[in-house]
């Protein structure tokens, strides 16, 4: 069970300062609108917090042409159904703070992004990912046995950035003692310009060894994964914005470093150029 509240708390408290600006070609009023700054929780999804952004910029765009709002960073459309922290780790780095995101209301990239019609869509997406994670961890037993109000609390806890509220339910999903120990680790590995990869991976090997992050990475071939922990490469591995030691037990990581959707989102990214 996830017990280390200090770690959980620090992860939860992760925020990314974002500077929203309207795409230049969409400025209709002539005068570019003011930039809009927000401190966005890493665990959350963008559409949950961008209402204000939309209200701020909507006056400056052509009312006839504007469609659904979407976000873009350095030419890369940002998928709303990834947690903010994952998007940041994948595309930006701490040298580019605040994170300059361009807001678009036109030319929705249909082939790259999903539409987000309403908050309910995010909720159902979130819950389906949670269920998928629990399917891997506990064959879906825990999430199915939960009451509707627990599901609601999980969602509102995330939506309102309430740690206690969220974790008082989520801790049940993170139960891993006794019979409820994780069957498989729910994780996804993201690499630039490739679809994410995931495989079945047990937290404890068949011969009883506790598996570490390194063991997880070893299950992939070199062509699947452009990151080899034994050879120093141009790539680094980020979870929740930090590089965890590869010796960290994977079960502990899954319990503590998973995003609210209960998945461990592992990002393999280029080493920052201006970093040593």
């Amino acid at each position: 069970m996830a017990e280390d509240r200090e770690v959980l708390r620090e992860i939860w408290e992760g925020r990314i300062p974002v500077c929203f600006s309207l795409a230049e070609e969409e400025i209709y009023t002539g005068e570019p609108p003011d930039l809009y700054y927000l401190l966005v929780p890493r665990q959350i999804y963008f559409p949950l917090v961008t209402d204000k952004v939309q209200r701020h910029f909507i006056a400056s765009v052509d009312p006839d042409k504007h469609g659904e709002m979407w976000l873009e960073y350095e030419g890369q459309p940002l998928k709303w159904h990834y947690p903010v922290g994952v998007l940041f780790d994948l595309f930006a780095n701490s040298n580019s703070l605040p994170w300059n995101i361009t807001v678009h209301f036109q030319a929705f990239p249909e082939e790259e992004l999903l539409h987000c019609p309403a908050k309910e869509a995010i909720e159902s997406h979130f819950m389906s990912v949670v269920k998928e994670a629990d399917g891997l961890k506990h064959r879906g037993q825990l999430v199915n046995n939960m009451q509707k109000k627990d599901h609601k609390q999980l969602w509102t806890g995330l939506q309102n950035d309430k740690f206690e509220q969220f974790w008082s339910v989520n801790k049940k999903l993170m139960e891993s003692s006794g019979d409820d120990s994780f069957k498989y680790i729910p994780y996804r590995i993201y690499q630039n310009d490739r679809p994410y990869i995931q495989k079945l991976f047990k937290p404890v090997s068949d011969d009883g060894e506790v598996q570490t992050l390194r063991d997880l990475l070893k299950t992939f071939d070199n062509d699947e994964l452009c990151f080899n922990p034994d050879i120093s490469s141009e790539k680094i591995l980020l979870i929740q914005g930090i590089q965890p030691p590869l010796e960290t037990p994977i079960l502990w990581l899954s319990e503590h470093f998973s995003y609210p959707d209960n998945f461990l989102h592992i990002c393999i990214v280029d080493k920052m150029k201006n970093e040593s």
Partner: protein, 1141 residues
Amino acid sequence: MTKQRLLLVNSSGDVFALNTEKKYFRELGKSTDGLKLKRVSAVEFGCWGIGHDQHVYVYIYSSDVPIRVAETTFENQRWSPWGGFTHKNLLPSDRKSWSNETGDKHMTRNDFPLPSEYWEWEGDWFIDENFKGEITDRGGWQYASDFPRQYSPEPKTFSMVRRRKWLRFRRYVAREKWAKISYSDKMEDGGTFIDVSVGGFQLPGQPAGFLSIWAVTVNGKVYVRENVCEECPEGTKWRLVSTDDTSVINISVGPTGLVWAVTWDGLVLVRLGVSRDNVYGSSWSEIPYPTNETRMMQVAVGNNTVWALSRDGIIWFRKGINGDNAWFNNQSAIGSCWIEMVGSLCHISVTPNDQASVFGIGLNDRKPYFRSGVNTSDLGGKTWQLLMLREDLSKLSHADSSFQSLDDEDTSSDYQSSVSLRGTPVSVSSITNSKDSKNNTMKSIKPLKATSLSKPDLSKSKTETKNTIKVSNQSECESTKSKNHKSMGIYNIDSMELKSTITMNPSTSNISETSDEVFTMCTITPAMPRYFWVWFSAMGCYIDEPTNVRWLQTRRGKFHSMYSFSLNQNITKRISPYIRNVILERLYQRNRTEIQQFQYLENAVDKSSWLKKSSMKWYRYGYRNRWEDVTVELEHSLQDNDSGIITIHYCPRGKPVNMQISFSDITCIKRIADPSAQSVFQIHTADTTCKNQPYLLMTSSESDTDEWLSTLLTANSHLWKIKQTIDKDSICSTTLRGDVFIHQPYKTYTKPYEMLWCQQGGHFKRIETCVNGITWAVGYDHTTWVYNQGYGGGLFRATSAMSKECYQQTDTRTISTYENQKWYPVIGYTNKGFLTDCYEWSDSTGIQDKNKESIKLPSSNWHWSGDWSVDFSGQVDQEGWQYSGNFNKPFHQQPGLRDGVRRRRWIRKCKLNTVGPWNKLGSTNIKDVTIQLDTISSTISPVIIWAVGSNGNVLCRLGVTIHNHQGDNWIDIPTDLPFTSVSIGGNNRAWGIAIDGSVYYRPGVTSTNPSGQCWLQVIPTPPQGSTLHLISVGETAVWAVDTKGNLWYREQITPTYPEGTRWCYVCNKVKHVSVGHNDEVWIVSLPNFGKFKHGTGMVYKRLGITTERPMGTGWDRVIGDGWQYVSIRGYIQKYIETEES
């Protein structure tokens, strides 16, 4: 708890100690004459060893409490009309003019020689004028009508004889030194020993610090050292224990006094009949060989385990040993059968308890191992793991020259071996290797692993290395031999060990493994004679939780040895604290870089309020007290920290009713003390405290309660100043559960029952504080803890926002229950069918049912350490029974004719692991502490802290300032009697109470002379034979509590007459008193104090204390019940209260 050490002896005869709290081992201080030790046997406070000269030595660790023994003798006189009182008048039938107390021995003051060269007199003989708490007439004389009669301090009409007591103290001065144990010339072996073993410290009914010490001489004779105890660390004499012509070569004593030995022929013997009255047993019994050809070499006895090694290095585990039962049952001492274990060792040693209890030295690789997975249910353990041993190299430079020279030889042999290795990529790291050479080793190994160079070559070179060791070892052995022409026996053993060295098979030791060793530990390889171990002793190393000991970790990977501190114990089971700290540090770093400079930005998510709701039970007071189902709702605004409300929804007679408690009204939230009601918590408000009817709420489980308490406290943290260092002038208290509650005063005056009490992390019995901001606390196990200016812990868990400077704290409680039996004709004593006047299991009064099996831990944070055992301390018989006519009468040791019932006490220890803003202070255990009341004059001036050690010594802490709350060291303040309580009041007037209730005053305490001048006895004692046991001194006033719970006030204390005139009775049913500034008095009461009806532990404040009426007039309720201890010595009331009833 004292320090727990594993002792290690290397082949050069140096002894090292490895503390369970440290990462590294250190060399034990050496005597100046270059004594080398062959083997040692350690216990908690010292160790015994065999020196290179084959004599037995004892080494007592340093401690702040001296070993101090009082010698007493009595001077007797008889009165006659012509000469008055003189010894010349003593009748022939009388005792001699100088005698012991009973008068049957003639003892002049010159008949007390010092026991050995390791003792010194503290001063000359002096007359003890204290007589049962009173001061005797001139010259310390006590009078009586005849000799074995009642004495009185003044002469009476019929006083025909008198006597006085002379006292002289001697002190053991050979601490931190190897003290040679004397032997008598009559011993046929000339006092040359080959083995010694120490144990028996758990034997009941022995003097404090008793040890059972067994030794073997070169001729195979077995001796015991008699009368070894705390006051006599060397014992008095050797006594031969017959072994019926068999010669013993190895012996081992367990903590319960169980003795096993190995004979010259490899046969194992066990000593039967060891009991509390016959500590050295009565007869030997032979244990059959495990297999026909197996001959034993060594045995090691633990609490419930016996391990043995046969000559071929095979490890044997003896099944069915039960040390606690061995006193009654021979089968428990003998066990049932041998079990062969995996692995091979050349030496084995066990700890006194059953957790992580076995250490050994590998037969082939000579590496240190420990047995992992040993616990009470699996005494055999799981696997042998390498012990991570690293020396504290910072200390190494202090090693004396004799070591250096020895080491030089060794390094030269190393050098040779590395020369012979030149050309191969392996280099042998030596003791002198610097960081560079380590790196070289690492670098040179890497290519080796990658390319897997020719293996035979390497193993060959390894053999060469080992050969050099062997040679050096052999030469050392020979030198020992030449020193001791008689030491045939020891040579035999040593050569056997050598044989095992010779049988080392180089092909089994894997090269890659060795290089791993070099890589991870850098300092330890067999090639280094300094770490070439020959002997361990773990008997002084009580390991409770192997996961907390840094050098006992079984995890793989290079993070092994890099252990650091962890907050939550459960985490250590899953993740190494080192990795956790790395991760946490990176998370902090992440949040710093990403958030810190952007904090002014608008938060993406609005946080308005937070609601928590759950169903509970609520205790409704009234005509019919009962638990009622309610729904409790917490609404709390996150923006404005001060506002929040708890709503209790309930339905009396079907109508829904709401009751609201505003956060600002709550004065205290706490758990109740009853361990069987863990899910109940109390909410106090000023009103409910007045009525003594706090809100009682019961959640569905203990963890639910934890969560609610944590949430409530977090929500209220701002109002209650939880997230800050405790203010200097706070009032500190502990509850019966051991929780710490602090009242931090406000700017304005509040009524006592309006005071806020909030919880801090930690678990203590006592807590003392002062205006200078120094706070000390004493745990149930008498460990001392010092407040470190942090906050949080305990309930708040490890949330970074709510805690600062929180460290792990442990505490131990002893839980007891009585087993009761009644005598019936024919059947005898039985517990069957007599439950008419008492329960089968009960508390000490016999009134409450307390079944051993149903006793619960104080909370789920506690765990049992050890099993139930009979308490043999005090006046009890062989099996722990006490007898009496019936359960209401006092109990005595031996059954009498009229006795119809008997009982015995069972005890079980339990342990708590918690976190709190406290640092542990040393290893000296104390039972009371007091901090100076006066404000210090400058920030560098010392603060006076006195304490009473757990054995009654009065101690004074030196070096305490507001920059160093822990101080530097203790010094002993000599007393004639053990003390129970001390207190330092205004102007540093120190008062203390001795164990017999006599009160002492010590003038002359100043910041430059913190230990004062001398003890002056304060008379008279309180009337009615009350025995005082607790004292508290305010600015001027002195208050005390006696053992019956009566509160006393010392009258007429003036600057010229600081002792006052007499004790004045105030009231009864008082548990604890604390007197502070302005002579304010607070007490913690026993149940039903005064005319009030309530449980135990209510805190009251004395009202109406004025110059005219210094005793005060009445009491005002503060908080309660459930409190245990309060200290108001840091509290200065803001302004004078108005007179109130």
